[in-house]
Symmetry: C2
Subunit: 214 residues, 2 copies
Amino acid sequence: MQIAILLYDRFTSLDAVGPFELLSRLPGAETVFVSKQPGPVRNDQGNLALVADRAITEVTAPDIVLVPGGPGSRQAMHDETLLDWLRAADATSTWTTSVCTGSLVLAGAGLLDGRRATSHWLALDDLVPYGAEPTGERVVFDGKYVTAAGVSSGIDMALHLLGRIAGDDVARTVQLMTEYDPQPPYDAGSPEKAPEPVVAFSRTLADEVSTAKG
Amino acid sequence: MQIAILLYDRFTSLDAVGPFELLSRLPGAETVFVSKQPGPVRNDQGNLALVADRAITEVTAPDIVLVPGGPGSRQAMHDETLLDWLRAADATSTWTTSVCTGSLVLAGAGLLDGRRATSHWLALDDLVPYGAEPTGERVVFDGKYVTAAGVSSGIDMALHLLGRIAGDDVARTVQLMTEYDPQPPYDAGSPEKAPEPVVAFSRTLADEVSTAKG
């Protein structure tokens, strides 16, 4: 079982590392971070680089492909080198997955046409031109395509996948070892739950990101 | 506001990246990953390296210090170079924090003597020789010392800190932008909640880690 996590410039760190931390505990799994060139790949804020240990050309048939989101997804979704790799990997994958706006990269590769999928709540509409049917669910399974909502939702996606792949007790063991017993002090994690001024302010932040970074 | 996140060999990735993703969104904050030597630092499973952009000698007075956990904490907690840096940074910090067994490193530096603190559920007893009073809470504040339980709990800690530092609505905005609306498909995230066979098996996994890696 090989798990490949794709990195590209200006990805969001937790999109990748959240599900990585849980999925890579799958007994017998090999997890590898890949990018166009091996080496450090810097995140959306520029303050953290993760090392891609392998080039995408070296990892051609992973069992699980995971694409994180981030502002850089807006470029990655049009990068034919990445998209060709993604299509080829998808041809033999058991699971093709994304977190946050990573689903836009899957969509750009043509993999979500006619499928139910999700993304960051601010990006759901951007799936539509690619033939995907956006849903407000946190983790969406459509056949072997699994998409998760914004940033932190990849952790929940990983637990779902662990359960499907290895059974409920393996998933529960990973949940216990990572002590994933969430107790957020606020209940503002979705636009339906957050106070309206917080939602409105968050929309302006997203606009700033789009304007500043493309 | 400068936030320094300490990396050392065999840290647990999500311990660092979970709270990083949320805390670094604090308006005006500079977040920097540090280690004894700048450059890639590899995680507990050996399958991911994060880049420390700065040496600890270059970051001497951060406002927030965050120490992640991981099997390598058992060495880090006796590494006098790290401990000296931690004591010096703590002398001027506003918040000194840890996730998971990162609290053992704080304890090794003598910073938790007489304080309430937490750690990974399998490591709580290891705090006692250092004068700390372990608690089963997920996030523990004792003055400026903030410790979080295992791995994923650093995300909750970050929300608590954001609220204290910048107010509830900033914390809620970060929660919404990271879509932290947890919906785990299992309820096994603490030893009180997980089925007994899962708890028992998890204890054997921890023993294996201790035996294999010190």
